[in-house]
């Protein structure tokens, strides 16, 4: 296990550049199958509307996974993400077209801990909506 980011080269306040992740209906169908979460609000527009939603919405866990990708791509080793938590603060609405929705994730190093660990705060937006809040990870650097 080896993070490619070195603790000594990271500073509190350092920003991790924003990355866009596309989410189309196909991604939600794949995520439903892989995760076992077949709630119809994630693939059936007709059902989503009957329970008061504007359209099909992404699984919260799909959005959280995009934040996870952002972290693991930054640190270079999935196993370096040793604690990762989020609050789901808004829905990611996924229209039935070729573009789908965009989730934009960015991060900032909030704190340097002992044993070469850092706290990274994430921001995730879809359109104007902040879709994750209190999104934080403890990452083991090298």
């Amino acid at each position: 296990m080896a993070a490619t980011v070195k603790y000594d080269e990271v500073e509190v306040g350092q920003e991790l550049p924003a990355t866009d992740y596309q989410v189309r209906r196909l991604n939600l169908v794949m995520y439903a199958g892989a995760s076992g979460d077949f709630n119809q609000i994630h693939w059936n527009e007709r059902f989503a509307k009957t329970v008061g939603l504007p359209d099909v919405i992404a699984h919260g866990m799909f959005t959280m996974a995009q934040g996870g990708r952002f972290l693991t791509d930054w640190v270079g080793d999935p196993a370096a993400v040793i604690d990762y938590g989020v609050r789901f603060s808004s829905m990611v609405i996924v229209p039935d077209d070729d573009q789908g929705a965009t989730i934009t994730v960015s991060g900032v190093v909030e704190e340097k801990l002992e044993d070469k660990k850092v706290v990274v705060g994430l921001t995730a937006k879809s359109g104007d909506a902040r879709v994750l809040s209190k999104a934080r990870a403890v990452v083991q650097l090298s």
Binding site: G33, A34, S35, M61, A65, R69, D77, P78, G85
Partner: protein
Amino acid sequence: MALNRDFVGRTYKSTTSYEVSRVKIKEFAAAIGDNNPIYRDRQAAQAAGHPDVVAPPTFPIVFSLQSGGEALADPELGLNYAMVVHGEQRFEYVRPIYPGDELVTSSTITEIRSAGRNELMTIRSDVTTVAGEPVCTTYNTIVERGGAG
């Protein structure tokens, strides 16, 4: 309908273990759109210092709620599943998850509370190997919209 507070403190253990496979890790990585070879190529994972491919950070969602699901389905809890959305989620790792791991989960309802018109319930799931080695702990908060209305 308000959730039954008597459920706080109840623990549900998985009756069968979940065996992690390379195929499932690869499928999950594909579903989250992540092309990282460390999730699908054993040699790439070994070159990075792992014994085998590694599960992505959010992978435990695949199995960690199986035992807690028993509580959610209990009519005495009073949960209207159609109104449930995911509130919060956290994964705290002791070690990475690898193919071949046989994992069991012990899920405890740690809190039920009202927030405005919603009911919130938090389940902590301790994930260990069948031999009892701690692997990770997950925290899952669900929101029942309008449940406290």
